[in-house]
Amino acid sequence: MFSSFMANAWIVGTLVALLAGATGFFVVLRGSSFAAHAIPNGAFAGAAGAALVGVTPLVGLVGFAVVASLGIGASRRHRSDVATAIALVMMLALGAAFLSLSAAYEPQVEALLFGEILGVSTTSILPVVVIASLCALALAVMYRPLLFNAAAPDLATVRGLDPRRLEMGFMLTLALGAALTVPVVGALLTFSLTVGPPAAARLVTRRPLSALVASMFLSAATLWASIAASYQSNLPVGFFVGTLSAVVYVLARLSCAWRRRRA
């Protein structure tokens, strides 16, 4: 389980989980789960498109994730969920078209959707480190505006914060993060880590910075447990990531309710 073959999975997985925990903290705060679900799917379409024209997947991943995020971010506030839904289905349909035109075989599709974390190669560590640091830096720079805009959007606007620009910046960060995480844990499971652990973290503390750190830690712990369980049981990592993320949230909710009842 800790053999050199698995070392890459642990390293890259931890980085991806920490990043998902950090972006997820803001995703949950801002109520942008739908966008966080849609953008990785844009990345999936991009990877399929890159395979079709024969460029490196990273170009397609980043390109499509950025296009998807711009489509969502540019929508007017009213009915932004409709724009997200349409961007999402368009991306998935494009992905399907690319795949059928390039006749990629099924395991590749499944890898893009559900990831292949146990097969991460050493060469993919460096790009992951670079992109994760970029995203972390972007989030740190936007930290206070993101908090303010999420807590009281009207007041933030009065203070001169442009919500459109902030939304765009955040969506682009999500896109960059998605391009990184999709090949590793897959489009569908990036999302689980982005919502479950962060939603749990904000229930256990009222300090913003502690909640952010707790979110990153819970996300990493979820992934570690998933990799270990997958290794022992031979069942897919995605199954454990998805269900454990939900379990972490439910446990936090229960403990929160229990504490409030006692208080």
């Binding site: 949950v28 109520g31 942008s32 789960s33 739908f34 966080a36 679900h37 009915r79 969920d81 409709v82 997200t84 839904a85 349409i86 999402l88 289905v89 368009m90 998935l92 349909a93 494009l94 399907a96 078209a97 795949l99 059928s100 035109l101 006749a103 075989y105 099924e106 599709v109 499944e110 959707l113 559900f114 569908l188 499971l189 999302f191 689980s192 982005t194 919502v195 479950g196 939603a199 069942l235 897919p236 995605g238 199954f239 454990f240 990531v241 998805g242 269900t243 454990l244 993320s245 939900a246 949230y249 439910v250 909710r253």
Partner: protein, 291 residues
């Protein structure tokens, strides 16, 4: 006309049945989806399709009827979302996300076990993107019957649903049980999405639930007209998408047809672009008329 309609498209029984089912599903999705759009529940509508997929995969694994798996999976998902909490928009967002994340985990497991147990391939793609042309005549009848039930139930919810969607406060003031109406609607949406997800896949399910109603709402704000318009636009997208997909076989020398889901989604997007251009022109005329 030859270049537009490749000969023989409607003489193919599978194409005929598939298009028929597609139109029925598009019509129900449009009627139910209009409220999804007005209530800003697109995310839940989409998530339920993925949850239904997990149910379908599970049913396939344990040898139950896939239709039952889809609908029951979707209903369970809707119940879980409501249980986590839906009073506030952001809470709803998180609740939907948690259920969706958990369901994708289950999907991953079921799909893995299916591929483990059988040498069959193509299941992932057919579940995600549907297989309109493999619908049998008997399931056509079953799906049409269920669709009718959904439409009748939607009619029964009627005015209270409209009122809670447009103004929850006014509804509460008039004694409407807003929570109960919301739950009933979410379950109705779950059945619809479950039905459409099994026939046309989770991607198209969302496209037809959200796209045509959103396009119809851009053209007018009267409920009756919007409902009719949404149904027409949905059916149109399906028929046009099927034709385009069928034709596309001849577009490339390689003879690889474009997937139906892609063609239908493209039609939906085209409808949205056209209607929003029309709405913008009408808006500009309105403004100049006033000035």
């Amino acid at each position: 006309m030859h270049w537009l309609f490749e000969p023989g498209i409607w003489s193919n029984a599978a194409v005929r049945t598939g298009t028929g089912v597609g139109v029925v599903v598009a019509a129900v999705s449009a009627l139910v989806g209009l409220f999804t759009v007005v209530r800003s529940q697109s995310f839940a509508g989409h998530a339920l399709a993925d949850v239904a997929t997990a149910g379908g995969a599970g049913a396939g694994l344990f040898g139950f009827s896939p239709l039952g798996g889809f609908v029951i999976g979707s209903l369970l998902g809707a119940g879980a979302m409501e249980a986590i909490g839906v009073e506030r928009v952001r809470q709803r967002d998180v609740a939907t996300g948690i259920v969706l994340g958990g369901a994708t985990g289950l999907s991953a497991l079921f799909l893995y076990l299916i591929t483990l147990n059988s040498s069959r391939t193509g299941s992932t793609q057919s579940i995600l993107f549907g297989s309109l042309f493999s619908v049998s005549n008997s399931s056509f009848v079953l799906i049409s019957a269920l669709s009718l039930v959904v439409i009748l139930a939607l009619g029964a919810l009627g005015r209270p649903l409209l009122l809670t969607s447009v103004s929850p406060d006014a509804a509460r003031a008039r004694g409407v049980a807003v929570r109960r109406v919301a739950l009933a609607y979410t379950l109705l949406m779950a059945v619809t999405v479950g039905l459409s997800a099994i026939v046309i896949g989770s991607v198209l399910s969302t496209a037809l639930l959200i796209g045509p109603p959103a396009a119809a709402l851009r053209l007018g704000r009267r409920l009756g007209a919007s409902l009719v318009m949404a149904v027409v636009l949905g059916a149109l997208a399906v028929v046009a998408g099927v034709v385009a997909s069928y034709d596309s076989y001849y577009w490339w020398p390689s003879h690889r047809a474009l997937p139906v889901s892609f063609c239908v989604v493209t039609m939906v997007v085209v409808e949205l672009i056209v209607t929003s251009a029309l709405a913008r022109r009408a808006g500009a005329r309105d403004a100049s008329g006033r000035a």
